[in-house]
C-alpha cells in the first residue's frame, strides 16, 4: 500500500450461492481522486460500491479506508460498532435519494451530526445552512422532501452526506432516477465537489459526465474489471472488445 492509497480494495469477491457477482477485484483510489465505474447493468458495479461501506458485504477480500480495514471480521456487536463508526467517514448518495420523508430538509441533514457527533442544535443548524448553501438550496431548509423536485431531493441527499464531513463520497447512479432536465443541477454539485478535491467513487451511466470529471474510469462486466485507465484512453481508445461494444451502445445515444 502506498502513502497515497486512500480506498483500497483487495481480491474482492462476492457470490450469492453459485452466482458470482464479483470476481477478484483490486482497486486503489488515491486521496482526491475521482473514479467512475461504468458497465452494463448486472455487471456488479453497484455491488462493488455497496461493498465499500458494508451495505453489501464481500464474501472474501478486503476493503480499507486509509489504514482502517472496513470489512473486519469481528464478533457481531463489535462489528456493528466498528461499521457504524467507519460509515461516518463514507458518504453515500443513492439512486432513489432515500431522504427521510417525516423530517424536514433541516432534520434530514442535522439528524446524524446531532446523534452521532453530539453537535448542539445551533451548531447543527449552522452546518445544515452551510451544506445547503453549497448545493444551492438554502431557501428549502424548512420544507419536507415531498415538496422538492427529484433534482432538489438529490442535492439535499448530497448535503446530508457532506454534513458528516466524510473522507470519501460514493455515488450509486445518483442521476439515473432523474428527469433529463434535472440531471445537470446534480452534476454541477458533483463537479463542484470534484473541484474541492473530494475523493469520489461514482457508479454512473453518464459517459459524458464520467469523461469530463473523472481521473480514472473502470469498465466492469460480469463481475470483473475488464479495463481501467484515464477517461481519454477508455473512451477514445479502449483496448478490450467488450469495452468497445459497451461504449458503442452508450456513446451513440
Amino acid at each position: 500500500m502506498t502513502n497515497q492509497a486512500f480506498v483500497t480494495i483487495k481480491n474482492a469477491a462476492k457470490s450469492y450461492g453459485n452466482l458470482e457477482v464479483l470476481k477478484d477485484i483490486n482497486l486503489t483510489v488515491e486521496r482526491g481522486q475521482i473514479v467512475a465505474i461504468i458497465g452494463p447493468s448486472g455487471s456488479g458495479k453497484s455491488t462493488l460500491l455497496r461493498a465499500i461501506n458494508e451495505l453489501d458485504p464481500l464474501t472474501s477480500g478486503e476493503v480499507w479506508l486509509e489504514d482502517v480495514q472496513i470489512n473486519k471480521k469481528l464478533p457481531f456487536r463489535q462489528y456493528e460498532a466498528h461499521v457504524n463508526q467507519v460509515r461516518q467517514d463514507i458518504g453515500m448518495v443513492f439512486q432513489h435519494f432515500n431522504l427521510f420523508p417525516h423530517l424536514t430538509v433541516r432534520g434530514n441533514i442535522t439528524l446524524a451530526p446531532r446523534m452521532l457527533k453530539g453537535l448542539s442544535e445551533a451548531d447543527a443548524n449552522k452546518l445544515a445552512e452551510e451544506q445547503l448553501a453549497k448545493v444551492g438550496l438554502s431557501e428549502k431548509i424548512d420544507e419536507y422532501p415531498s415538496r422538492l423536485s427529484g433534482g432538489q431531493k438529490q442535492r439535499v441527499a448530497i448535503a446530508r452526506a457532506l454534513a458528516m464531513k466524510p473522507k470519501v463520497m460514493l455515488f450509486d447512479e445518483a442521476t439515473s432516477a432523474l428527469d433529463p432536465e434535472l440531471v445537470e443541477e446534480v452534476n454541477q454539485v458533483m463537479k463542484q465537489l470534484a473541484e474541492e478535491h473530494m475523493t469520489m467513487i461514482i457508479v454512473t451511466h453518464e459517459m459524458d459526465f464520467a469523461a469530463s470529471v473523472c481521473d480514472r474510469v473502470l469498465f466492469m462486466d460480469q463481475g470483473v474489471v475488464v479495463e481501467e485507465g484515464p477517461p481519454s484512453v477508455i473512451f477514445q481508445n479502449p483496448k478490450e472488445e467488450r469495452t468497445r461494444n459497451f461504449l458503442r451502445k452508450h456513446l451513440s445515444r
Binding site: N53, L55, E80, A81, N84, Q85, R87, Q88, I90, G91, M92, F94, H96, F97, N98, L99, F100, P101, H102, L111, A112, M115, L116, Y144, S146, A157, R160, A161, M164
Partner: protein, 218 residues
Amino acid sequence: MGLDFSVVPDYFGVLAMGAGWTIAITICAGLLSFFGGIVFAVIALYGHWALRLPVRAFAFLFMGTPLLLQLFLIYFGLIQIGIDLPAFVAGVIGLGLHFAVYNSELIQASILAVDKGQYEGARTLGLSRGQTLRRIVIPQAVRAVIPPMGNNMIALLKDSALVSVIGVMELTLAAQQAISRTYRPFEFYLAAAFCYYIVNLALEAGLRHLERRIAASR
C-alpha cells in the same frame, strides 16, 4: 303497543353509569391492546424464536376463536385454576389481548412497509440498527398505522358490549336491566344504541384530530 320513550329519562342515571363503564373498559382495553400490540409486534419481528413461537401460537389462538368464548374462558375458566378475576378486569384482559393481536398485525405490516432505502440511508450515515428503528422506521410506521388502528379502537368500543355476558354493568347490560323493569326493549336498546353512537362520534373525532396533527407534521 306503541313506542313510549317517556320511561327512558327515568333510567338516565342507569344508562349514564353504563356508558361510563363502557368508556372505562374501552379506554383500559384500548391501552392494553395498544401497548400489547407493540410488544407482540416487536417480539414477532425482532424476538428470539423461543419468544416468537409462543407469541405466534397465542396470536393464532386469539384470532381463530370467538371473543365471546375468550371472555368466558378468562372469567369462568380461570377460576378453576385458582385465578379469580373481577368481571371488569377479566373483560379488559379479554378485549385488550384480543385487539392487541390485531394491532400487532397492523404494526408489523406498517414497519415492514417502510422502504428498504430508509434503512440504507440511515445506516450509511452511521446510525445503528436501534437508532435507525427509533428515529427513522418507527416514526414512519406510526404515521401509517394510526388510521387502521383507529378503526380497531372503534371496533373495540362496539365489541365491549360482549362483556355484559360476564356481568360487567356496562351500557348494554344497563339497558337490559332497565328493560327487565319496564318491559320496553325497543326503547332502551335504541337508547343504548344512541349512546354507543355518541361515544363513537367522540372517539372518531379524537382519532381524526390525531391523524390531522400527524399529517401536519409530515
